[in-house]
Symmetry: D2
Subunit: 389 residues, 4 copies
């Protein structure tokens, strides 16, 4: 039980997690979106909140944008504001699910006019990338159907392939296109990119600049996610994570809240492959909805959960594990992994934060900061940001 | 293959399916609610649409209300309008999921003030029942939690039991309280009434006027729903169905669209127990969301799907089935059931409609009626009904 | 409702379904394998039973072998016996799950000696192919792990890729290697080929002679199988089906018994792509366990279920469907599909059988034939075939 | 993070976990049962192995029997041997799944002779209880069907109720009948006791001596098990646990191996209700299959996993949790729970063992003991115990 403690978690010092601008706005279910005092009204206020998360955790250096939710007249100004606040603007996320035209599909729609519109939206997102300096275009395709026969599964794949080619052609040399898959929702019979296999096939057809995004909440019940992580790394096609957690569907809960052991197993695969190091180019991002809990503390907790899982993964005794695995020692190998998982790493992480000049306890630091009270009193009037705007 | 055809489906002549007022309004997912031309702006317009469904199907004699969505100043006037349109007002559905007070629960909330408010809402619904002549109060409890530890599972059950007692005490002698269960959503860790067992326990504690509502979309993956139907009938506690269909979660698709064989198996259990007859008191209702398809045709198709499944169930050769079952003839018994399922009953249903003076084909009759064009041109301006209002 | 009947199902006349030799032996669960009178003791008796299924259905022209279960000294003699009985020997299935050496894996085992043994078994299977004239080697890899950390997910993929290369190198020019995937079982944490994506990646790495086998019971709950069918056809990588049905896990029930509508949707994708025609090269096979029902009637029913689903798929009005789909008519397009599904095709299939000189009703023909009574009385003594031998 | 450590885990000193005799025999899947050197040949050898687990853990005071697998001529002698070895004989488990008569059901069979036989078997088990001093009869009913229509769901419930009455009537005053439920397997369409609701209804009909057994692997995907635990405790009907873990179906892996956080949440509900105390009468048992790992170490690890989860549950700061819950502090309440979960309790448990005169590390103690080597060399010849005998 002591081997683990001898190792170190210093690799975590450079491990940053990108946060989504939309996590600071209101979110909810189809039944109700509850509002919260202090929620941002503008992209600038979202960036400010993200910067506060980075200030107390020291581990959230970038904030993803969502277009058109985060559309501003001058993206250079937004980027400068972010830099002044200590963070950078990250991936640009497109949105093809909120226009009436997209009722029956966007990049897969049988109507060429609508497909062209959806492609144009992505080219506009690439312009935003040029304005913000972002190198990553992230595409979650909501398209799907609700009824058997509603549309041709095959024709939709062909249209999708064509639309993606047009988007890909618009990328700069140093851009990447990250394609996300999702089991279901917002459609309930077919989804046009429902699994990693489909996402990967489209990426392979496009070229090296296209990679897969793995959202931890987007799988069928029982799916072994760490297996997929390993498979995508093996193909050099894991571009990014969207972290969150789920018990049922795409619940978008705080990562690590529903199944912390799963998060650890995922990070173990990442660490085993050296994919936690900056040179891997994998973008580790949160994608969550804080429907009922306060948003900034929800993000802080999420960052800490990823850090704890990663720290435990770093403590795995790789030599002992390898030896037990090669020796066919089923329980011994399992025990090496569990030894790291069962270690309480919170003290080690406190030390690490202290070494970076940050409070050992980000939750307490935020509570003490007065930030929550300040935004609640200052952000009066206007329209709170939410998925609708 | 011919035994089935010798039997008759005349029991269907009296088999009515209640339709929900909210199916005629807009609905959607957390990502988008698409709007549709011609959607009702008022409860009166919803009732008018429901009456149109009844006119062409001859099988939708009642319309359920949802309070406060269907709140009107004068319910007597709404009831009279319904009667004039050929339908009656049916079950009254309460709503404890759209008030900010209910963020952490309604009947289970740790705050006694909020519990009292939620109870009072149900007593108000009972007043609506008195005004409309409805005998059924339907309660779907959205309450739940998102995070382990967020609240005490046990305390919430105790508070729920107490709240239900207060509501039950407000019922008239000829009222029924129907309690629905749901696997998950809008909360994602615990649901306070997640399964038929929990719903039944609360009903047993309350008394004879309390019964269970089975929504076909509210179960864990793989759950055998016809088994639950049988078990509840055996306890005399099946109060109502909320029909719809699903592939993944609570998809709320057209009943019979995702798995028509499942619908048939359910109706086979119903027919085998004689529970399709009016004296059973079971309320057969639709509860669906027509997110992308036109709403009135969606309802018509749903009614027809239930009729087709029920017709097939009526064609099962009960004597041959019983004989094969008692004889341990696995494939033979299965074949008796499948013989009925594989029969094309659309002609028989056409005959039945004709005998009632209705068009053989409700879909075509509606298309020819000009109703769709009329409401699209007349219902201009105002706010289209949706879950939000 | 009448368009469908105008079309014809004559393509079914040449549509053959391969049956598995092991379906005629005893099978069961980990709890019990029930025995049945008349079960074959030898591969010759299995082939005889398969030939009887072909005799009454006219649609089961080949029988798959499983090595070593069907090992005989002289495969030429077995092939001749099959030919005399009116059937051919089909795919050769390897077995790497019943040797103590494979406890921790076969083609993925960390021990090179065990990997070499597993590869050698496949080369031996290729020799059987040469002796029987079979062109198809089917590989279901049972390998997996039960505990997190037990073995390296990545290393197992690398070993698997290497082992597959060695097997592939042993194929003749006109051979195909079909690689099956399975969600879980007999291992319960990782499976080394758990999904179509993994199977496809290995096939792509191997070359044109490698294709994917889709077993309808090998998916996560809720998986849309027809989507995968379409995707694999689009890649020209669908090599074969293993048909069966399931409600829960890999239940191996009679195909079409659990969800006949799903089978229809799958066959609709097949027919839409012309993949039901012999030139597609797709091998349509059964893979089922008749644990409690008599085996030969179970196979006959399965053949009929696939025929009925395919007949319905052939009746889909492709022109009307295309028009409704391109027009965005959600309910209209769905209705075109359902019109075909709701048609009773049993009469048409009876006609087709009659035109081939076969009894209209294979179940009745088998019951009348006296075959069951004959094998029950003749097959006394010896060891009944089962998975164990 | 320090509150937890101030509390104590001394309640664990009296917390015993019953082990199943069959865990020491061979087990497997329908594909293969791998054998292991040293596996017991007789019930006496199984008891010896169980006693060894108790010796090194100090927490496995009883061993469950399975009839007929553990049938001996003189149960008094077996009980005496157990006592001499430091353990007691525990629950008696019936077996109605391995006789050819039970192919289509046992207590639910349509044949009265077979039902009577199955009832008689349970009365024989009660005789074994009288001979061994056991007070608990545990009934897992395997009965179910594979095909829709195969048998009447309703009739089977009625027959089951009648059969259970006959068994219940045979109990002594101080006996308990524990009725287990299971989602599916060994049948794949209906299961006659598929869920806690069905088990509870039968228990309520029988009387106070009947209670429910919750096997942690017997639920639909996504089921919230701690909710059921709480609900059954609330009804005073939780009789026993069968602990194990699963990723997919009834995998029967080591408890806590697949989802240690779930095990902690379950034990949190147990501890919150005081149900971990001996006076609760709840029987905490293992029910697992060590298919590929050595059996005795597998049992030791399982005991330790339950202890660790329980220790963490005992460390939950109940006052802080209650305060946060009543205050509606979603993240604060969650954090109180996670604080305990994230604590490394292995040192505390080492201390506890030491205080009882046991080695701090049961795994190491067993490895050093030479027991494994001894049974491997001594248990040569004979038939290794497995599910088949």
């Amino acid at each position: 039980m002591t081997t683990a403690a001898l190792q170190d978690i210093s690799a975590l010092a450079d491990f940053g997690i990108e946060v989504p601008s939309w996590a600071y706005g209101n979110s909810g279910t189809r039944f109700k979106v509850f509002s919260t005092p202090g929620v941002p009204r503008t992209p600038f206020e979202k960036v400010a909140d993200a910067a506060e998360v980075n200030r107390v955790t020291g581990a959230a250096p970038r904030v993803s944008l969502h277009i058109p939710w985060d559309y501003v007249d001058d993206f250079g100004k937004l980027a400068a504001f972010a830099a002044d606040s200590g963070v950078a603007l990250g991936a640009v996320n497109s949105n093809v699910f909120q226009d009436d035209d997209y009722k029956l599909g966007s990049l897969t729609n049988s109507d060429p006019r609508i497909r062209a519109k959806a492609v144009a939206h992505h080219l506009e997102c690439i312009d935003v990338m040029r304005a913000t300096g972002s190198k990553v275009l992230k595409l979650w395709l909501p398209d799907g159907t609700n009824y058997a026969g509603q549309d041709s599964i095959r024709a939709r794949q062909d249209r999708l392939a064509e639309s993606l080619q047009e988007i890909y052609a618009g990328l700069d040399d140093d851009h990447r296109l990250l394609i996300e898959y999702k089991f279901f929702e917002p459609y309930f019979y077919t989804t046009d990119i429902p699994d990693w296999g489909t996402s990967l096939l489209h990426c392979l057809a496009l070229g090296d600049k296209a990679q897969v995004v793995l959202d931890t909440g987007h799988h069928a019940p029982g799916t072994n996610i760490e297996f997929i992580v390993t498979q995508l790394i093996r193909q050099n096609k894991l571009g990014a994570f969207d972290f969150n957690s789920r018990n049922y569907a795409d619940d978008d809960l705080i990562v690590g809240a529903a199944d912390p052991f799963q998060l650890f197993r995922i990070m173990h695969e990442i660490v085993s492959a050296g994919a936690h190091l900056p040179e891997s180019g994998i973008n580790f991002m949160l994608d969550q909805c804080h429907n009922i809990e306060p948003k900034i503390p929800g993000q802080i907790r999420s960052i800490m959960n990823v850090q704890e899982a990663t720290a435990k993964a770093l403590l795995v005794d790789a030599v002992a594990l390898d030896e037990a695995q090669l020796g066919g020692d089923v329980l011994g190998a399992h025990a090496v992994l569990m030894d790291a998982y069962n270690t309480d790493v919170r003290g080690l992480l406190g030390d690490l934060r202290e070494s970076k000049g940050i409070d050992r306890d980000p939750v307490a630091a935020y509570a003490r900061s007065g930030y929550a009270e300040r935004i609640e009193s200052e952000r009066i009037g206007g329209n709170q940001a939410s998925w609708g705007a």
